[in-house]
């Protein structure tokens, strides 16, 4: 990180969330700084995806405060659509728009929301396609793509809005193993370019390599967080130790 003053991009304070009796998030607090890459790990059902989806209000917290980019999104008066324009999200199942071509998928939001005119949006879309290595797929239907290609298009689609923060919800979990590398490469380049990223993943190697900070979720709580070296090499929390022993030697 440069010597510029560290700016908090995401501020989460005492957030709780329950589905009926199931208390999925318990008093979570977390700050993410500009340019920081935070990777969230933990067993399935530990609440990490729910937490991620709260950051752009796909889920709403029962209580607590969430401030993204200076906007308090836990405040009902905040125009969530405006805030979301600056938060890109990549889903496990890609969720590319089936009724559009690749290029149209990337152009849709900037054009619809008046951020770019058609020509500028197309120019930007083609640049992004080049960045993710799929220039030749501009005019094909999204259904003809492989999973890895779909996910790279999904990243390009999110980047088309020039977001300040990118959220990744298990972006490689639905991919065939040979596709994972291409997607992770794109994400690594993005991290290197200084994007603020919050990533839920099971790719421990990737976490070690790219994360500034690793956060371990378990039973709806952040059990431990720290640098990749600290979390992976000298875990203190017993549950983290148990989790790592399972995933690292699987």
């Amino acid at each position: 990180m440069s010597d510029a003053q560290t700016k908090v991009k995401v501020h989460v304070e005492n957030v709780n969330k329950s589905y009926g009796d199931n208390h999925v998030l318990r008093d979570i607090s977390l700050d993410v700084s500009e340019n920081e890459v935070v990777v969230m790990i933990g067993p399935s059902g530990s609440g990490k995806s729910t937490f991620l989806r709260m950051l752009n209000q796909l889920e709403t917290p029962d209580n607590g405060t969430i401030v993204v980019d200076g906007f308090d999104i836990s405040d009902k008066a905040t125009d969530i659509n405006k805030v979301r324009e600056n938060i890109g999200m990549v889903f496990q199942n890609f969720n590319l728009f089936n009724n559009y071509t690749v290029l149209e998928n990337i152009m849709l939001a900037p054009v619809e929301l008046g951020k770019l005119d058609k020509a500028a949006a197309e120019k930007k879309a083609r640049e992004l396609l080049a960045t993710v290595g799929l220039s030749d797929k501009a005019d094909v239907s999204v259904n003809s793509l492989s999973g890895g290609q779909k996910q790279r298009i999904a990243i390009a689609r999110a980047l088309a809005m020039s977001p300040d923060v990118m959220l990744f919800d298990e972006p490689t979990s639905a991919l065939d193993p040979e596709m994972v590398g291409d997607v992770l490469n794109v994400m690594k380049n993005l991290a290197d370019s200084g994007m603020t990223m919050i990533i839920v993943t099971h790719e421990m190697g990737f976490a070690k390599q790219v994360a500034d900070r690793v956060v371990f979720f378990e039973s709806g709580k952040i059990q431990e967080s720290g640098t990749p070296e600290a979390v992976f090499n000298t875990p203190k929390n017993a549950r983290l130790q148990e989790f790592l022993s399972k995933v690292m030697h699987a």
């Binding site: 796909l58 659509n81 999200m89 009724n99 939001a109 929301l113």
Partner: protein
């Protein structure tokens, strides 16, 4: 854009439907009748409404200086429209009874009648006692059926109801029902014209009485006075006797066409060409307008059904629940006969028919449209929203195009159902294909041939509609 166009179009069509027929300075009346009631009222081979009543009405109107629109429909509907003020008068072989005098004011009687009981020509039934346990066919709302019912307890027969005379006759002629009750002059005319039935009491008609022209009680005094004055005049100068002689003395061919016209499919097609074409056109018109407007209404209901606001969703669910639950015919009667009784605003039959179809077919459409939107993967909406698209934009740009594609087969199915459902509107007197068939059968008694023709015409229409829909579907999926 689609929505704007839809509303504009709907408004234009509705205005056109509501536009009243402009009348001249002479008083203009709406008079209902039952066009399956030869020799009093029926449709001749040229698709004109003729008969003793029609000629009388014409002569009286000319003499008294008024004009009228004659609306043929089932007797029951014809009577109800007058009793609730939707129509001004009824001339439909209506017997003057004490019960009816509570609701209607009657003219001087214009024809003496009585009730006959009738069986199949070669029936083994000899007396009313033989009807024990048998089925008797009756026409809803008629004095003859009241008379038949009054004998039910004594003779122990079962009753089956019909809406038009001819279907009722044929039910007896083919042996489904053992007997029927009908006004003497009407059955005698039918038998004379080849209906294979026989009257069991030609010399002792039951409940001897008279037919009268009727208006709603205490209303339309001018019309009733004009009718009485005109009737007295045509009786005095011999016009009335000439009219009666013309119909009772004439051979079948005079009004119904020749044997060749009626006993071959080609002959029926040729001699009824005009009626069939206009019935077909009415069916197409009803179908096309209903399909367009019901689809717009249905899509609107479907969009409301996936709204973010709970009360809008609830409204959609309630509307769909109500109009999907009501039988089409009940809805048609409610709108055409029921509502005007309450509001006093007349609704033309065509408008009532279209509104009925929009509400009913629109409810079914709304249900599958909502289902189609819900069938689009949730992730599509999440992805659209995560980019900052507001709900409405996400619906229009992402969810609706995908949902509509899922729904195309349901739309085609609903179009075909709409086409078939137009036939139910014959009940409120719309002269579409089915009602046209009824009128032709009422005249020529060729049930098998005429209904076969009508059935084939429907099949052709449905085939064309299916082809057209598939073609549109292919165009859509190729895009």
């Amino acid at each position: 854009m689609l929505k704007k166009f839809g509303f504009g179009f709907a408004a234009i069509v509705l205005l056109w439907l509501m536009a009243p027929t402009v009348s001249a300075n002479e008083p203009h009346y709406t008079i209902t009748t039952d066009a399956t009631y030869a020799p009093f009222t029926f449709q001749d081979k040229n698709s004109q409404y003729v008969g003793i009543e029609q000629d009388m009405m014409k002569a009286i109107a000319k003499r008294e200086g008024f004009t009228y629109t004659m609306k043929p429909m089932s007797f029951n509907s014809a009577a109800q429209l007058v009793s609730n003020g939707q129509a001004d008068g009824i001339i439909a072989g209506m017997s003057i009874t004490p019960e009816r005098r509570q609701v209607y004011d009657f003219s001087t009687p214009y024809y003496k009648t009585g009730v006959a009981w009738i069986v199949k020509k070669d029936s083994k039934i000899k007396s009313l006692e033989d009807l024990k346990g048998q089925t008797v066919a009756l026409k809803t709302g008629t004095a003859a059926s009241e008379y038949g019912l009054s004998l039910q307890a004594k003779y122990g027969f079962k009753v089956k109801y019909f809406n038009d005379t001819d279907t009722m006759y044929n039910d007896v002629a083919v042996g489904n029902s053992a007997a029927t009750f009908e006004d003497m002059p009407v059955i005698q005319y039918a038998i004379k014209n080849g209906m294979k039935l026989k009257v069991m009491n030609p010399n002792q008609p039951g409940n001897a009485g008279s037919y009268g022209f009727a208006v709603e009680k205490h209303k339309n005094k001018a019309l009733l006075t004009a009718f009485n004055r005109g009737f007295a005049a045509i009786k005095k100068d011999g016009t009335y006797d000439k009219i009666v002689a013309k119909y009772l003395g004439a051979s079948q061919a005079t009004f119904s066409g020749t044997k060749a016209d009626n006993e071959t499919v080609f002959g029926i097609l040729k001699s009824n060409q005009q009626a069939l074409v206009s019935g077909l056109w009415q069916t197409i018109e009803l179908t096309v307008i209903a399909i367009v407007l019901a689809s717009i209404w249905g899509i609107l209901l479907g969009v409301m059904g996936v709204s973010q606001m709970a009360w809008v969703r609830g409204l959609s669910t309630t509307i769909i629940y109500i109009f999907r639950g009501l039988p089409l015919m009940v809805l048609a009667f409610f709108i055409y006969i029921g509502l005007p009784g309450l509001t006093g605003v007349k609704i033309p039959a065509f408008t009532a028919g279209i509104v009925t179809l929009i509400l009913n077919e629109g409810a079914y459409t709304g249900a599958f449209v909502r289902g189609g939107f819900e069938a689009v993967d949730r992730g599509q909406m999440e992805a659209a929203r995560s980019l900052g698209l507001p709900y409405g934009k996400a619906m229009r740009r992402v969810i609706m195009p995908q949902g509509l594609r899922i729904m195309v087969p349901s739309f085609i199915n609903q179009f075909i159902i709409t086409l078939k459902d137009t036939s139910i509107l014959s009940a409120i007197g719309l002269l579409e294909l089915t009602q046209t068939g009824s009128l032709i059968v009422a005249r020529n008694s060729q049930g098998f041939r005429v209904w076969a023709i009508i059935a084939i015409v429907y099949l052709i229409l449905i085939t064309l509609l299916t082809w057209l829909s598939r073609w549109v579907e292919n165009k859509m999926t190729m895009q």
